[in-house]
């Protein structure tokens, strides 16, 4: 079965430190992977996606993600965290060829402390 796992419910990091939010996936075929962010009482906003090509994908707000096929991972990273990065982050994977149907992980709450 196709799935996405976010093993951490919450990640805490000090402002200015690097952050990583983890995601692993299980899909048949080549994965199309996404990261979305949700601020309080808002919908989800697109951060970045991996379709093919370079394993390091750059996205919005200084975020990037590294695709690792051997480890079936797609971890979200940022070199220097900001307090304003505090939000709920979702990893997602496309589950059917030629559609935009996604399944989402359970989400990881990122808390950046001043």
């Amino acid at each position: 079965a196709q799935s996405v796992a976010q093993p951490e419910d919450q990640v805490n990091v000090a402002e200015g430190n690097p952050l990583t939010v983890k995601c692993t996936y299980s899909v048949s075929g080549n994965p199309y992977l996404f990261w979305y962010v949700q601020y309080p009482n808002r919908g989800l906003q697109f951060l970045l996606k991996y379709i093919t090509g370079d394993n390091l994908v750059k996205g919005s707000y200084g975020f990037e993600a590294e695709f690792n096929k051997s480890q079936t991972s797609f971890h979200l990273k940022k070199p220097s965290a900001l307090v304003s990065d505090s939000a709920l982050y979702f990893c997602a994977v496309r589950v059917r060829f030629n559609t935009d149907k996604l399944i989402f992980g359970t989400g990881t709450r990122l808390q950046v402390f001043p």
Partner: protein
């Protein structure tokens, strides 16, 4: 910029009521989606539509139906609301070609009492 508008942000309904959640997108997108978001469960797909009057069940369609009479509008219907349908509902749309991103509305908080 793409805009996905959910007409009601906060609703309180009684058990057994019929509930309509409306969603409109302004970018001529082919695909539209309804997700439900619950703490610890992430987003779960209820229904999606890939064209006018075309729909497909998602992972948790029980207790829900949908309507897409016009391309820009996708409605989620709770035929007889129950307390276990208290949740945040998110509408989304996408262009329909491969490799495109999904755009989300702001969400509708539904409480069934």
């Amino acid at each position: 910029d793409v805009k996905v508008t959910q007409s009601s942000r906060y609703l309180v309904k009684r058990t057994g009521e019929k509930v309509f959640l409306e969603c409109v997108q302004d970018m001529d997108h082919e695909n539209m989606f309804w997700y439900r978001q619950d703490p610890g469960l992430g987003l779960r797909l209820i229904y999606f539509s890939y064209d006018v009057k075309m729909k497909e069940k998602g992972d948790i369609p029980e207790g829900y139906s949908v309507s897409r009479e016009k391309k820009e509008r996708f409605s989620l219907i709770l035929e007889s609301a129950s307390t276990n349908q208290t949740s945040m509902y998110l509408c989304a749309s996408s262009l329909g070609a491969r490799r495109t991103r999904i755009y989300f509305g702001e969400g509708s908080w539904l409480t069934v009492v």
